[in-house]
Symmetry: C2
DNA sequence: AATGATAGTTTTGTATACAATTTTGTCACA
DNA sequence: TGTGACAAAATTGTATACAAAACTATCATT
């Protein structure tokens, strides 16, 4: 159908994207043994590009020991701990440096969060965080958080984070603090916001466990 | 000579280690074009394992666009910014949780820092930070810092950080704060310590620039 | 001298073959 | 029933060949 999606990019890149998506959407669930030849046959390419894509996925932590990763509760805590540090700092930076345009966009994200469809809300919430992280002006920080997104996504699939009560209210508070250029407050609010996200995640996971 | 170093590990792993070391010790200086076949010939193996090792080095940021990375001053600042956040947190954790044995080891690092040979001092200083980072109990944090070490090393080569005045005194202050279980103080001291490291690095780099 | 077309060269991407290793299954024996 | 030895099968690691692409150099034309 779409030439772009099957032909133009290199086989390695295609393989990387397909396998990554399969892991993220649960098509390849956690713990699944990864077999090069099997994937090669499925994607209709040879093992060589498959191997390279697997090495990449290894580096990003989506594959460990030839198995699809199965992040634990501890992993989730660790991840949010790092996020709290990096995004807390970013929120402070945003209060100091975020240009007016981006403020507008933040405000719009909140609006969509209140009025949009499920799909739109998820996108807007992600964008909200992304804008703030970019305000850090630190590419290493941006990349580090990017790298963690896959694992977060893996949890979010089951948790449906966008439905958490007060989530948008908290975004709005953060936005207000940034708008008032109150860095310390923005940082604190971001920290509690992420902590609440984590607690919500953990709560859902643990209640699911007793089914 | 040493069978272990040439035979037992896989060709891919050998290649990874050799190329990585060559970059770190300046044998492959920043900006060098990386050519697969050339490396394969030099290491006496085929291109296949070379390619995989290069993908790995790409992921770690030591190779960018088939060239050896040449980190900028901005990169250095970014890196230390992240370190300050993560190691500051780690120092606080260490004050809360570090067991007595590790405290002893920290103290010993300081002793070596005062009395050891250059080589020993460098090792001891690295160990000092490593013990504290491990005290975070957060494997993601540990890995993230690990990943940054190569680039730091790349700078340290020219900067000879171990000779910075007060470095060991600052370590000692941090150690004392941890020993007294004063988390906030340990965190603050670690932050200023790393900031001083960064400033020293930048100073050296900029004075070298005017040669 | 500047441009740009084109042949030649280098380098990368992919497929394939085979060797080495790991895993799996089977069966004899205690 | 359990265990461990071994063969068979599956999987991974590495080398090699060739095709595709990116890069260089040369030279004709303006």
């Amino acid at each position: 159908m779409n030439q772009q999606s099957t032909n133009s990019r290199s086989a390695y890149q295609q393989a990387y994207e397909v396998i990554r998506d399969r892991i993220l959407n649960g098509d390849l669930p956690g713990g699944t043994k990864i077999v090069e030849e099997k994937l090669a046959a499925e994607l209709g390419i040879s093992r060589t590009p498959i191997r390279e894509s697997l090495r990449q996925l290894n580096n990003e932590g989506l594959i460990i020991n030839k198995k699809v990763v199965q992040p634990t509760e501890k992993d989730l805590r660790n991840l949010f701990q790092v996020r709290i540090l990096l995004e807390g700092f970013s929120a402070k930076s945003a209060a100091m440096y975020l240009p007016e345009d981006d403020l507008k966009t933040l405000s719009n994200c909140i609006k969509i969060g209140r009025e949009g469809t499920t799909e739109e809300i998820m996108k807007a919430n992600e964008l909200f965080h992304e804008i703030i992280v970019r305000a850090s002006g630190n590419t290493l920080m941006i990349d580090t958080i990017d790298r963690m997104k896959s694992i977060i996504y893996l949890f979010r699939k089951t948790v449906v984070l966008y439905k958490r009560p007060h989530l948008i209210d908290e975004h709005e508070e953060i936005y207000e603090a940034i708008k008032l250029r109150n860095g310390e407050k923005a940082k604190k609010l971001m920290e509690t916001h992420l902590q609440a996200d984590l607690d919500f995640c953990l709560h859902i996971i643990n209640s699911e466990r007793n089914d």
